[in-house]
């Protein structure tokens, strides 16, 4: 096993328009768990399909360690890449039993008899489906089908496991259970995993690294903590967490993490200079005296707290949480404990 390197990868389709993937460079460390995060149509699935070998890059290259998997002129066919994939639709073969589905990669590799049976049993045990070996995929529930697909990935000890929005078709309760299964799977197999999702919470919970994409471009790659705490640019800031982005007069200093004093200093500047985008998350907005005046636009009761939408005097919106009930139209005073200049 080795690092997976995407080197200035681009892909344009014959239909024209902007490239689906544009100059993406990325290194996934061995045994890493990378989440490719972005809104639908951002090119993340195209990146995944290029790594799998279903699409050929129009520019740039993909390397696994020293070995070039694909560039614009040549590519290794998917059947020779030793990768595995969990598809959004699970892609179980309906005419084969669960055991046959899981054992098929071994059958293709010419492994037969006792050895194959043992490996299939082990894989099914890892996803707790031993007793379902003789069933047909049609007789299983969505979560069980997902686990069969995972067992099929496990069985050949692949270098890279690709997951294409594997939880999109599951209900909320099953998602949590499957997230746990994926983490277990990653720890057990040690394979490099690449996980495509549009759900930032899913990406944060699972991955060791998150890569955010938009309109074919890679915006930022970092650990979930880093992405959350120090997002780069409006798009990442807007995508991760529930924050709002304020446009404020910008001071010329390098300090990006702003406390209340720094925030007040920015507000106090005259209005006609250059502006900066400042990310403010609702948990950092405190209803306290001697803060900014804010008008309550809407109130949503979430059980443990109230989620508020506020308007600042200059009309910009802000989100905040409150333990006390408030009414639409109330005037509050808020203190911003922490903000991040994008």
């Amino acid at each position: 096993m080795a690092k997976l390197i995407l080197n200035r990868l681009s892909k344009s389709f014959e239909t024209g328009g902007r490239p689906a993937v544009n100059d993406v460079s990325l290194t996934v460390r061995e045994g890493g768990f990378l989440a490719l995060l972005g809104p639908s149509g951002c090119g993340k699935t195209t990146v995944l399909r290029m790594i799998a070998g279903f699409e050929q890059p129009t520019d740039g290259s993909i390397l696994l360690g020293e070995r070039v998997l694909a560039d614009a002129s040549e590519m290794v066919a998917p059947e020779h890449r030793n990768m595995a994939m969990v598809f959004q639709s699970y892609a179980l073969w309906p005419h084969m039993s669960v055991a046959e589905n899981v054992g098929y990669p071994l059958k293709v590799r010419g492994i037969s008899g006792e050895k194959r049976q043992r490996k299939v049993r082990e894989s099914l045990a890892a996803v707790r489906l031993e007793s379902y070996a003789d069933r047909r995929p049609a007789d299983l529930s969505g979560g069980q089908r997902q686990r069969v697909a995972l067992a099929r990935c496990l069985v050949t000890e692949p270098d890279v496991v690709l997951l294409d929005e594997p939880l999109a078709n599951l209900d909320r309760h099953l998602r949590q259970e499957m997230e746990e299964t994926f983490r277990e799977f990653h720890a057990r197999s040690g394979a490099t995993m690449i996980y495509v999702t549009h759900d930032q919470a899913e990406a944060m919970a699972l991955a060791t690294d998150v890569a955010v994409m938009s309109e074919g471009r890679l915006l930022q790659v970092a650990t979930p903590e880093e992405i959350y705490a120090r997002p780069e640019g409006r798009l990442v800031g807007g995508l991760v967490g529930q924050g709002v982005i304020l446009s404020l007069p910008s001071p010329h200093d390098d300090n990006r993490l702003l406390d209340w004093a720094a925030f007040q200093a920015m507000l106090a500047r005259s209005g006609n200079g250059p502006t900066a985008d400042v990310l403010v998350r609702p948990q950092d907005v405190e209803v306290a005296p001697e803060g900014l005046p804010a008008n309550v636009l809407s109130v949503l009761f979430e059980g443990e707290r109230y989620a508020l939408r506020l308007a600042l005097p200059d009309g910009q919106a802000l989100r905040a949480f409150s333990r006390q009930p408030v009414k639409v139209g109330d005037q509050l005073s808020v203190v911003i404990n922490s903000a991040w200049r994008l």
């Binding site: 014959e14 399909r49 290029m50 799998a52 070998g53 279903f54 699409e55 050929q56 070995r67 040549e74 590519m75 290794v76 066919a77 998917p78 059947e79 020779h80 890449r81 030793n82 990768m83 595995a84 994939m85 598809f87 959004q88 639709s89 892609a91 179980l92 073969w93 309906p94 005419h95 098929y104 990669p105 293709v108 590799r109 099929r152 050949t156």
Partner: protein
């Protein structure tokens, strides 16, 4: 271990050249050859001579008039059945639909024979019940009207299917909205359903017309004895009196048939293209109208029609096959299975015909399947811009009348094949190649619809599992399309086994098919033997249609042609 393949394509490199080669030999080459000969003959002045021949214009007139009246009959019959069975609460719809579809699958020459057995002075059936007209009175079916009537019976199912597909696609909520707007059943029918189903009517009529223009079996049996020639039978008779100008003449005649067919098909295409509104709203189950007191009358009418167009002719056919000799009255003491013994055990000709037809049909059905599975895969998965052109080229030989295709293959193979110097003209191989070309579209259609239903990720998962193309085909793709492939084999076998038009021109001693054998037996006056052979053919047709009917639930929609 590292094998580089070009592009992210799942197809092996040889697939595209393979498909192109197949399409070239089965479609482009024969039709191109026909066009070249036709044009050369037209330039060479052969056309002027032929266009001055009053026989040609008589044949054109006969073709157009029989086809037009045949189309009218088909629209009345097929339209009536489609409207009643689809929109109203008739009982026994499945049985009625199946029986109504039978005539189109029964070979035309068998239809013609059975109707002859039902009418006219020498009808065994009429004699047995004492209703035969006096000897010497004319056989009423040997006429333009007779030919048109049988065209109508034979092609009514085409109108039925086209109209029914349109009716089933009607949005039910549109009907319900009209009801809520206060329209009565009759007003809904008149103002909503009939206008929306007009394209189905027109398209069905156009297909029926094209099918009539190309029909050979019916005018051959009903027209030739009365010297009523249509364009296909004129081609046949030109070959019977072979002369130096024959090739030029028949290629011009084929071009005429081809033009008439293309006009018809263009009408169909145009009408169906305008049918955009059918995607709006929920379609599926059509609102069923209650007939109330009229129901029993409608049902009686439908069953009476089935009785007249199906049961009576087939009873007459069986009666003719049981008669000891032509014209001898049939009763319980004279009935004999002599004719069956004769064709099954004594006559070398019919036994050869059985062997040839079954062998040819099996070879065509299974041989084509190999080709169409690969072509279907290419058409469905291919990203090439050529796929649309290729599917159109694959459709053309089946859409054209068989007689045109037969002429094309005669022109192509009349001389020995260049390079290898072997001549296949007059051998069974020329029939086989013509069958491959003609039934390619029949075999391809079910396979393509099955491939369309296969989620591409099923194959991608197999690729990542390490399976190469051959392996994926064997383990994943073929098992998934197997039911449709089975239907494709049965359909091609059924149609090839009953085929007459192509083999009528391409057969020679020793290579006659069942269709040719029936025609020749009738032509030589052995009406009872021809009838017995026809009865066996009808039994085979019904058995295979029932087999497909039983498979229908496991097949993609549209694979079994008479179910919609």
């Amino acid at each position: 271990m590292i094998r580089a393949s070009h592009r992210g394509n799942s197809q092996p490199r040889w697939l595209f050249p393979f498909v192109i080669t197949v399409i070239f030999f089965l479609s482009v080459l024969p039709l191109g050859r026909l066009a070249v000969t036709g044009i050369a003959s037209a330039m060479g002045g052969g056309a002027r001579q032929m266009l001055g021949d009053p026989g040609l214009w008589q044949a054109v007139y006969n073709t157009l008039s029989t086809s037009f009246f045949g189309m009218i009959a088909a629209v009345v019959l097929g339209g009536g059945f489609a409207l009643l069975l689809t929109l109203f609460d008739i009982r026994g719809k499945t049985a009625l639909g199946f029986l109504f579809m039978l005539p189109t699958m029964i070979p035309p020459q068998v239809t013609a024979l059975s109707w002859i057995g039902m009418t006219g002075p020498s009808s065994t059936l009429l004699k047995a019940i004492g209703m035969a007209p006096p000897l010497g009175s004319p056989q009423p079916l040997y006429s333009i009207g007779g030919i048109a009537l049988l065209y109508g019976v034979q092609n009514a199912p085409l109108v039925y299917l086209s109209l029914r597909a349109g009716l089933l696609a009607l949005p039910r909520d549109g009907v319900e909205a009209a009801r809520l707007a206060g329209a009565s059943s009759w007003q809904v029918l008149k103002d909503v359903i009939l206008p929306l189903s007009l394209p189905g009517f027109t398209a069905g009529a156009a297909i029926a017309f094209v099918s009539c223009v190309g029909n050979f079996g019916i005018p051959a049996i009903l027209g030739i004895p009365a010297s009523i020639y249509t364009l296909p039978t004129l081609i046949y008779s030109k070959f019977a009196n072979f002369g130096p100008g024959t090739f030029g003449d028949v290629s011009l005649l084929s071009a005429l048939i081809g033009i008439l067919s293309i006009v018809g098909l263009a009408v169909e295409e145009r009408v169906l293209r305008g049918r955009d509104y059918r995607v709006i709203g929920l379609s599926g189950r059509v609102a069923v109208f209650r007939l109330g007191n009229w129901r029993w009358l409608a049902e009686a009418g439908l069953w009476l029609t089935i009785f007249v167009i199906l049961f009576m002719p087939l009873t007459a056919l069986i009666a003719s096959s049981l008669a000891p000799a032509y014209g001898v009255p049939l009763n319980t003491s004279t009935a004999t299975l002599h004719a069956y013994r004769e064709i099954l055990f004594r006559q070398a000709v019919t036994r050869t015909a059985f062997t040839n037809s079954i062998g040819l049909s099996l070879a065509t059905a299974f041989g084509l399947l190999v080709v169409t599975v690969l072509t279907g895969y290419f058409l469905v998965r291919g990203k090439s811009r050529l796929t649309r052109v290729i599917s159109a080229l694959a459709e053309i030989p089946y859409a054209l009348p068989g007689i045109v295709l037969a002429v094309a293959f005669i022109l192509l193979f009349a001389a020995p094949i260049p390079v290898i110097g072997v001549s296949i003209y007059g051998t069974i191989w020329i029939i086989l190649i013509a069958y491959f070309s003609s039934f390619f579209a029949v075999s391809l259609k079910p396979v393509v619809s099955a491939f369309r239903q296969v989620d591409p990720s099923l194959e991608e998962a197999a690729r990542l599992a390490g399976a190469g193309f051959g392996r994926r085909l064997r383990d994943i793709l073929v098992p998934l399309v197997a039911p449709a492939a089975g239907a494709s084999v049965i359909l091609v076998f059924l149609i090839a086994c009953n085929e007459l038009t192509i083999s009528a021109l391409l057969w020679s001693a020793g290579t006659q098919t069942l269709g040719v054998a029936i025609y020749n037996l009738d032509d030589s006056g052995s009406f009872n033997l021809a009838s017995a052979l026809s009865v066996l053919v009808v039994i085979m047709v019904v058995a295979m249609m029932l087999a497909l009917e039983l498979m229908a639930k496991r097949l993609p929609k549209g694979v079994v042609p008479w179910r919609s």
